[in-house]
Symmetry: C2
Subunit: 396 residues, 2 copies
């Protein structure tokens, strides 16, 4: 932890009981994004999504609420949650400005900083701050060449604010104040990639790489100041580029924790972006990414429901675990072995109990019930394991 390569996000004002560590040598972790939107601002629904994330094994949640009474929703979620919690404070500042002034650009630089402080006081364990969205990148021709421009909401709020006010990003200019707040509450700074590519065609362009270089420098300052820090990463990335993206982050930052959204390896599968991102996430984590932000089937289409949260968490956990297996983690390999041993013994209860999602495994087995309970309905008595056992018992 001294050199920043491991982070344990935990606010001093919080009593989370399931604390997690992120970084070098640790199991790959999974985050589930929750939170309201202007169209769906029902706290009970968010609590149901929290329960779904908890049941399926998320390691942390982020409250990304932008609708309803945002501070109240955050408190309700945090009261109900024993996991590490992250937020994006600028959403609250922007939503307040939109509500009272009719435009998110009506927020002041002080409002933006104050939102971070308020989240720290409330006990949030890690906050995403898009400090690398520098004015020169926002005004660059390179940004204009993108197919999808800026797709990070926090990044876009800041870009919009900078264009309107003609000023630099307050989270970049006043980074020392952020460091002070982070120290005051033991908040981990998650340096957001406001310029992450939102289309395969935009991946690893100068906007993205220039932001990453700024974040690497800010992260160095954070580590020197004794503040825990993570770097956030893309986004939409072609599969052949995923490993290079991770290497770039790790080499530029000296191995600081990398928190990736996706990567989503193709744009063409809305409705299945839990799968497009499981592919990218597994390869990213194998290459060294430490923390995977889930993506749900409703990504690009709407706010997730509890069933989408379930699908998203499991898909991300599969990616994380596949990477742990690939990295040769003993306990990950042992889990696979236990399940396969149960499968070979045709011990269905053990196989279901060891499954990542025992509920789904049982459901599918029951949906296609076999005549003989020691096999499944795919092969029936032609089951390879039953044939093998039959040979063994018939031997003299």
């Amino acid at each position: 932890m001294a050199d920043g390569r491991v982070t344990i996000p935990l606010n001093k004002n919080r009593r989370a009981t399931c604390v997690m560590g992120v970084g070098r040598g640790l199991r790959v972790k999974v985050n589930a994004n929750l939170g309201t939107s202007p169209d769906y601002a029902d706290v009970e629904m968010e609590l149901a999504k929290l329960a779904a994330a908890r049941q399926t094994g998320a390691d942390s949640i982020m409250d990304l609420s932008t609708g309803g009474d945002i501070p109240e929703i955050r408190r309700r979620l945090m009261d109900a949650c024993d996991l590490t919690v992250g937020t994006v404070p600028i959403y609250e500042a922007a939503a307040a400005a939109a509500r009272t002034g009719g435009d998110i650009a009506k927020m002041t630089a002080d409002d933006i900083l104050a939102s971070v402080r308020r989240h720290g006081q409330d006990g949030v364990d890690f906050v995403t701050v898009h400090c690398g969205v520098a004015r020169r990148i926002v005004e660059s021709e390179a940004l204009g060449r993108r197919v999808c421009g800026i797709v990070s909401r926090g990044g876009m709020f800041l870009a919009h604010w900078m264009r309107r006010h003609g000023q630099e990003n307050p989270l970049l200019e006043r980074f020392d104040e952020l460091l002070d707040m982070a120290r005051e509450f033991d908040v981990t700074l998650s340096l957001g990639d406001g310029l992450r590519p939102g289309a395969i065609a935009d991946a690893m362009d100068t906007c993205q790489v220039e932001e990453l270089m700024i974040l690497a420098e800010l992260a160095r300052r954070a580590v020197e100041a004794g503040v825990q820090v993570m770097i956030e990463g893309p986004g939409h990335v072609p599969l052949d580029q995923v490993e290079a993206q991770v290497r770039l982050q790790k080499d530029l930052t000296g191995g600081l924790p990398f928190y990736v959204l996706g990567p989503i390896v193709t744009d063409v599968a809305p409705g299945y972006d839990h799968i497009t991102s499981a592919i990218g996430g597994a390869v990213a984590a194998m290459a060294g990414a430490d923390f995977l932000c889930y993506v749900t089937p409703t990504e690009h289409l709407g706010l997730p429901r509890p069933e989408d949260v379930r699908e998203g968490v499991i898909a991300a956990r599969i990616a994380a675990h596949a990477a742990d297996v690939a990295r040769g983690r003993d306990e990950a390999r042992a889990w696979d072995r236990r399940l396969s041993q149960a499968r070979g013994r045709r011990d269905w209860e053990a196989q279901i109990a060891e499954a990542m999602d025992p509920v789904r495994a049982r459901q599918l087995r029951e949906a296609r019930r076999p005549e003989h309970s020691d096999v499944c309905s795919m092969c029936g008595d032609y089951c390879v394991f039953k044939l093998r056992d039959g040979e063994e018992t018939k031997q003299p």
Copy 2:
């Protein structure tokens, strides 16, 4: 095609209208396995699964029926199918022996060869023949050390037969007869990996590699004899080993088409093996695999239903397309770009029309309907594209 690196499976007795090519320089193709089992032998259900595979964009189907009137089911499926069709003839020989003699081992070597001929006569485009399951591997100590032994049904049927009769695999010993049949009907031989690993712990062991070396040699003889050939591959493989598996096949065979099942990158997610195999399949295809056999959510749990076929085909198509994007195929990149451009314009109809599964994309959008039709319910009016357009229209 002369050197075998591209295969176009098409039986001279067949009039498939959607012919596909597999191999070097071509789009990665996707196969959907259909077919009855002893527990579910309903041809109407199989026709519904065929329709699901067709609608979701499978490039070929295999009829793996082991229950009911197998020849009749095959004919019904082939009559209804305009895609390339493959089968595993030994299933029919084994099922007939089990039905009439009470044991699959009652089939004779001639029965096994005759099943291949019958499928050729019936117009099957490619047949899986597990020629590499050599007696010395089946009797080896290495096989005994595996967690899951043999998990290929065809491989297990042959192993069981060899142990019972103390004879060599007829598909290996009489390979020249297979070549004659293949030439007679223009059937493509898909050299099956009867010794594929069925658990992460079993991947790339001596059994698997020895079989692959035998298949490489047989494939060389097939190419020399003017017979089209593919090699089938694993199975359960840890993600860090997937690329090496593909390289090994390509280097040993001089670049012959590689048809992979999965690879499934972790054993622990029954119920989600369409995702575990989409991860492995994408990486395998990026490394050079040419043809992905889908895996459905019911893998390891039961015979798939039409909805499982849908999920399986889409997951495999995502893997195949992600690999095409990674390999820099122009038309794959262009598809991603078109979808992202539609997304950036907030042109929802174009975005849904370009989606790999427009039905699912529309369903999820409608399930969480936004108040304003030009955004989605995730962000509402905080939509980054709407904010960008708002800035542009306000400029002088």
